[in-house]
């Protein structure tokens, strides 16, 4: 083979240059800088001065009760919100995929949260969660259930957060699942119906397995976004819960960086890097499971690919 001249070979690089430069500046540099800051002890942003290099920030963050609480809360939140919202979304997406009357109306209802600001809607949720005047406690009281102190105590705070989180995450999830559902050939349903399969069996034996690639995708996306949860805290509680009990990892980063003066760049960066690692590990885990299940079905690579193309 004849080698192309040097200039020819590096020509593509020039075309890629604008992209490479913008990615380097806006994506790589901040990440690298955060990682760097996380190892600098007593770092001062302006002067660039620091007292030492090491794991001091990490030690400090790991031993910080707020950070431990944040990890605990975040994991509990992810482990509750992601599965529950996925299950609800799969069911709702299926209902929305049926040809029912007022389909457009129902679809609008479920997608409305996506076009509204979650901060603004969060405020109305706060009124709904109100211990005394909120509609949720009113409904509970009608059913003879004691009022839940959604805003007034720690366990109530967590329940409120999970409910709000599920609500906020549903529309996106439903849209992704709907597009997955619409990719399933209706012939499979006809075939099953001719054989006499009932709705539930069709749902569990055919719809769910065929939707599995999309469900996996949705779980990954939602896990990443729920791991980064923090802005929901502001409309609901004006901060980390009623009594510093609703720290999440990203709120902890915000807290060290924005509430504390002087800002604790090092701690915030160390926490950010740890979150990055956690999310990365979970995403890799997910991908491994996905690859394994894809291998299990072997041939399905084609279908998964079609799915992905459709989602793009």
């Amino acid at each position: 083979m004849i080698r192309k001249p040097f200039l020819e070979r590096i020509k593509p690089l020039f075309y890629l240059l604008p992209f490479i430069i913008s990615v380097s500046i806006f994506t790589l540099y901040p990440i690298v800088n955060v990682i760097r800051m996380s190892f600098l002890e007593g770092y001062k942003y302006l002067t660039g001065a620091y007292t030492g290099i090491g794991l001091g920030n990490y030690e400090k963050v790991v031993s910080d009760p707020f950070f431990r609480q944040a990890i605990n809360n975040t994991f509990r939140y992810v482990l509750l919100v992601v599965p529950i919202s996925t299950v609800i979304a799969v069911i709702l997406a299926n209902l929305l995929n049926q040809k029912v009357r007022f389909q457009a109306f129902f679809q609008t209802c479920y997608f409305l949260p996506m076009v509204t600001s979650s901060l603004a809607v969060g405020l109305s949720w706060r009124f709904m969660f109100n211990d005394k005047f909120g509609i949720i406690n009113y409904v509970l009281s009608l059913m003879g259930i004691d009022p839940v102190q959604f805003l007034g105590n720690a366990s109530g705070n967590f329940i409120a957060l999970v409910i709000f989180g599920i609500w906020a995450i549903l529309p996106n999830t439903i849209i992704l699942l709907l597009s997955g559902l619409q990719n399933i050939d209706p012939l499979y349903y006809t075939a099953a119906k001719v054989d006499g399969a009932k709705t539930l069996r069709i749902f569990f034996r055919i719809t769910v397995p065929l939707l599995a690639p999309t469900i996996m995708l949705v779980i990954i996306i939602n896990m990443i976004s729920t791991f980064k949860m923090y802005h929901e805290l502001f409309p609901l509680f004006n901060g980390p819960g009623i009594a510093y009990n609703m720290f999440t990892v990203v709120y902890y980063i915000y807290y060290e960086f924005r509430v504390m003066t002087p800002p604790k760049y090092g701690y915030a960066s160390a926490a950010a890097v740890m979150l990055l690692v956690i999310v990365f590990v979970f995403t890799m885990l997910q991908r491994a499971v996905q690859a394994w299940s894809r291998k299990e079905r072997g041939e399905d690579v084609k279908q998964v690919k079609r799915h992905r193309d459709a989602l793009r």
Partner: protein
């Protein structure tokens, strides 16, 4: 199982897909629903399977009125054009699925499924997924899945159209073999006349929702009920020359050449088609019916000659030792069989 269809009508909004369709399908036969696309054959199949219900009319399986019975209660097995095998299940799971729905115990299910797999010759790939099979293998699995619940009626919806030419021939023989081995009454939908001719006990030919003819394949070919049937069957397609009836004779073309074909009880001046099969033409230079050679081509062992008859180019197999030249004038006559006269407007057959 014998199937009786009585005056079936199916309308979608203003559109009539099947119109006044009546037929009796004898037990154990393989009957093909044949017709061009849009003729209502798939609608008919869907009504037989219970996916659709007729607007009017009755469907009987033996003596049961199943007109409005749901699919699963009818006991029909359905094979789809693109097989509709569940991609996430193995071959075995796919075949087992109808039994799983019927709540057959697992052990029995697998036993039956394996037997079925043997019947269709896929016993060696039970643990594969559909995506790892060839088209023909998928087809076999689809048939096994349809047959495993021992249906009273097997329905095949254009099952061969996704296969390449060679596989198509192999599979249609397989389908015939499986059908004969199981003896299940089978209805096969296709638009391919050759397929229909080769596989069926009887063919139902449809056009625009109306049954045209219901007969044995050869009879359909030899004795078409009308112009449409004659046009639809046969390869090469039947030759058609315009003519007019005068004094019981069929005169061809503008020059009213005498075709030597006679019809009875047809009023003078009726516009007709003289349709004849390519094999029904004989070279006879003594014949007063003259034609002009356009082209001869050798197709395998046969020689096919194109010639102009009464201003229309037609084709015929002429087993002649004489080498025909372009523009050479020849005389022709027709055999007794394979020659028909149809009304040009109604398609009604006069001869």
């Amino acid at each position: 199982m014998k199937i009786r269809l009585e005056n079936i009508v199916k309308r979608f909004d203003d559109n009539t897909a099947v119109d006044d369709f009546s037929a009796v399908i004898e037990s154990g036969e393989l009957v093909t629903l044949l017709g061009p696309s849009g003729c209502g054959k798939s609608t008919m199949l869907n009504m037989l399977s219970g996916i659709l219900y007729p607007t009017e009319g009755k469907i009987y399986f033996d003596d049961d009125d199943v007109t409005y019975m749901s699919s699963e209660k009818r006991g029909v097995g359905l094979v789809f054009q693109n097989y509709a095998l569940y991609p996430h299940m193995t071959v075995l799971e796919n075949i087992c699925f109808p039994l799983e729905i019927k709540k057959v115990p697992k052990k029995e299910r697998i036993e039956k499924a394996k037997k079925m797999a043997e019947l269709v010759h896929v016993e060696g790939m039970l643990n594969r997924k559909p995506g790892q099979l060839s088209g023909g293998q998928q087809q076999r699995v689809a048939i096994a899945r349809a047959l495993v619940k021992e249906p009273r009626l097997l329905l095949l919806d254009e099952p061969l159209s996704n296969l390449d030419a060679r596989l198509r021939i192999e599979m249609r023989e397989e389908i015939r073999r499986i059908q004969l081995e199981t003896g299940v009454t089978t209805i096969f939908v296709t638009h391919d006349q050759e397929e229909a001719m080769s596989i069926s006990d009887h063919i139902i030919l449809m056009k625009l929702g109306v049954l045209q003819q219901y007969d044995k394949p050869q009879y359909l070919y030899d004795q078409p009920a009308n112009c449409f049937v004659a046009d639809f069957l046969g390869n090469p397609p039947i030759n058609k020359v315009e003519g007019v009836v005068e004094g019981g004779k069929v005169l061809l073309g503008e020059n009213k050449e005498d075709s030597q074909i006679k019809v009875k009880d047809v009023p003078d001046g009726t516009p007709v088609y003289l349709s004849f099969r390519s094999e029904s033409v004989i070279l006879d230079n003594k014949s007063p019916l003259r034609a002009k050679v356009v082209l001869t081509s050798v197709m395998g062992k046969e020689i096919i000659t194109s010639f102009v008859l009464a201003g229309k180019e037609v084709r015929g197999y002429m087993n002649s030792d004489v080498e025909l030249q372009r523009d050479q004038e020849i005389g022709i006559r027709f055999k007794k069989t394979g020659v028909f006269v149809f009304d040009r407007e109604s398609g009604e057959r006069y001869l």
